[in-house]
């Protein structure tokens, strides 16, 4: 390796000339994986906040349908016009916000944060590489992401507003809405998909090719494994959605009928199209991505949790190999479970049997991963710092989310729960108190490496306890609502189906939504408001600590073993002065007979005995 670098000094690699770079080269058009990682991170956090903001307005509308939104209602009317007349959210606007909340959270917030930001910043450091394998591709990936984000954002302000067909964009609804929101959505998605594909190629190639000497596959930190599998999910699951996106775009702008059947009527009359397409095809292609995508959301989170738990229990992760094999297994299986989102599309017995079976099988590796984390606690010396608190909370929260996936996985029980708030609660438990908590943990954990300063611990705790409590206030009631039959994507929060409403109209029905369920909306609204308030200390903490946080006294403030902590803080361009050599596994904590309670991966055996 040394030989290579010496015979080809700076051979055509512009990235290698890192002497004087202007502001633009250094911060905006950077090819340094760490800068790109931070760019990804900040952009994604802004989108995360924006996605949450959309949802706060929706929760108001759900709790108080038809009433003007306080504080921001007038602003909405000013910028969006009639869809928010008098500051009231119209059903069109509700549908736009819902679709964009899902899209933004998944494709513009969590994936870029978990994969783009943490993956970019941490993976090359953890494997002892100078940068990503293709730095310029890396930059292009970020730029495509930003472009996609801008297109999505701009779509709010075009006439008719943003896409309204849910994040799933089912045809024919998606193409039947005459405004251009869906076109923007599709073009934006094509950019985001391109970004993810470029990122995935880069990550996988980097992990395969740029591991430092001695960094064998079974010495990789689990976080790297998680990103590796995630990369493959993106690489192979996204293209079919890209194909589907192109086809839906054709349906929308070129008048084709890929997803439109013969005999489709619009406003009563037969539509002027050739027909012959299939609405179900879109669903298959969407969920072929959609399901792997949810593991894209969770695997990096599990990777972070693993790093932090090992570090703060001061002992090796129990069952490292089972973790790795489980992650690979999840990755493989996630490609063949997608139709569990489609049980009620008229699926016959044989196909349903196949997908129910694979869905049950895929829950087993998740159980194994969680079990490994639990067992790792046993015998540890547990430090309850902020990152660790978030990771510990991740476990039961993901547990709730994951377990409630099981009744959805059986077609017959899904019959009752499909498209109700039970599904909403299920997946928010995995992505919100699950993934978001893990990402918070990652921010608190790697912040000192990125900036050389610690985040404030007290406000970290306030952020943690507040988030934990209010996340549960928001999402726990949704299980009950869903079980009682409350349907999702209701612009009035189900008021039209409530017993009370019907009684007012003089209709007596069996099984309408009870007052009790409807009243929970108020509680959820307040939960969301307080959830937002407790994010304020976090946001301030992040920016304040960059300048004023407690300075770290060493490059390795958490006494961690993995390679990212063996670099200067923050790591310079090129990361390591010399290629590190790896001598041991990733989590050598509290090794018997060793003086300190951790041994870095690059420490030689001789060095360790000298202690």
């Amino acid at each position: 390796m040394q030989a290579t670098t010496h015979t080809m000094p700076h051979a055509g690699v512009h990235e290698a000339h890192h002497e004087e770079q202007g502001f633009w080269r250094k911060y905006i058009f950077s090819t340094d994986h760490k800068v790109i990682g931070i760019q990804y991170g900040l952009t994604a956090l802004v989108f995360l906040l924006f996605g949450f903001f959309l949802m706060m307005m929706m929760r108001w509308q759900i709790a108080h349908p038809g009433q003007p939104i306080p504080l921001v209602g007038w602003l909405l009317e000013r910028v969006l016009g009639d869809v928010a007349a008098k500051g009231v959210m119209s059903p069109d606007l509700y549908n736009s916000f819902g679709a964009m909340h899902g899209t933004i959270m998944v494709f513009l917030a969590i994936v870029p944060l978990a994969f783009g930001a943490f993956g970019n910043y941490v993976v090359p450091l953890q494997i002892g590489a100078p940068d990503m394998a293709f730095p310029r591709v890396n930059m292009a990936s970020y730029q495509a992401y930003v472009l996609g984000g801008i297109i999505m954002f701009v779509s709010f302000f075009i006439p008719g507003g943003a896409a309204q067909a849910g994040w799933t964009s089912y045809s024919p609804l998606a193409t039947s809405i005459p405004t251009d929101g869906q076109t923007f959505w599709l073009v934006g998605m094509i950019f985001l998909i391109t970004s993810s594909l470029l990122g995935a190629v880069n990550f996988i190639a980097t992990i395969i090719q740029l591991r430092a000497p001695g960094m064998t596959w079974m010495r990789l930190p689990f976080f790297v494994w998680a990103q590796f599998v995630t990369g493959f999910l993106l690489l192979l699951a996204f293209p079919p959605l890209e194909a589907a996106g192109i086809m839906q775009l054709m349906d929308k702008v070129a008048g084709t009928s890929f997803f439109l059947p013969t005999g489709l009527a619009v406003g009563g009359e037969l539509a002027n199209i050739s027909g012959g397409g299939s609405p179900l095809l879109w669903q298959h292609l969407f969920w072929f991505l959609g399901h792997p995508e949810v593991y894209v959301l969770i695997l990096p989170a599990m990777g972070i949790v693993c790093e932090v738990i090992a570090n703060n229990t001061r002992k090796p992760i129990w069952g490292y190999k089972s973790l790795v094999y489980s992650a690979l297994c999840i990755g493989f299986l996630s490609f063949i479970v997608w139709a569990h989102h489609m049980y009620l599309t008229g699926m016959g017995t044989k196909v349903a049997t196949f997908f129910q079976t694979t869905t049950m099988i895929i829950s087993i590796p998740s159980v194994i991963i969680l079990t490994c984390f639990f067992i790792s606690l046993w015998g540890g010396s547990i430090r309850f710092n902020t990152p660790m608190l978030f990771c510990l909370a991740f476990l039961p929260m993901f547990g709730i989310g994951g377990l409630t996936g099981l009744p959805l996985g059986f077609a017959a029980s899904d019959l009752h729960l499909h498209d109700t708030y039970y599904v909403i609660a299920h997946f928010h438990y995995v992505v919100a108190p699950g993934t978001i908590f893990a990402l918070f943990a990652g921010i608190y954990y790697w912040f000192p490496k990125m900036t050389g300063r610690m985040m404030n611990e007290f406000w970290g705790r306030v952020h943690f306890w507040g988030s934990l409590i209010f996340m549960n206030v928001v999402f726990q009631p949704m299980f009950a609502q869903g079980m009682s039959g409350m349907i999702r994507r209701m612009a009035d929060g189900g008021a039209n189906y409530a017993t009370a409403t019907l009684q007012k109209q003089g209709v007596e029905v069996i099984g309408g939504l009870s007052d009790k369920m409807m009243n929970l909306h108020t509680m959820i609204l307040w939960g969301a408001v307080f959830l937002a308030l407790v994010q304020i200390p976090f946001i301030i903490n992040v920016f304040w600590s960059i300048k004023h946080g407690k300075k770290v006294t060493s490059d390795n403030p958490w006494n961690a073993t993995t390679l990212e902590w063996q670099t200067p803080t923050p790591p310079p361009h090129g990361n390591f002065a010399h290629a590190p050599t790896v001598h041991r596994g990733p989590y050598e904590y509290s090794v018997p007979g060793h003086s300190s309670d951790f041994i870095p991966q690059n420490e030689t055996d001789k060095g360790s005995r000298q202690h």
Partner: protein
Amino acid sequence: MSDHTDDISKHVRGYMIVGGTLLIGTILTVLASYVDLGHEWNIVLALIIATAKASLVALFFMHLISERQMIYVVLAFTAFFLVGLMFLTIGAYADFPPLTTTR
């Protein structure tokens, strides 16, 4: 991955032969389409020839025949998922063929 110059010049002949075979394959495909074997069998034959041609390109032009194991692994998974996508999707239609005319 052959690194020696003389090795390469031997390959060059191979490339020419493969190229010629591909051209012949193309002509065969066209001719075969004019022979009426029954619609299904025409499709099968055309796909067989196409697959053979594609394999030649992949094996020789793209050097898959002497590629590293890792690339095989990646491609094997890709092929598997693609087959899964095709068969499961198409399989799901078998239960309820699309409706145009019914009672």
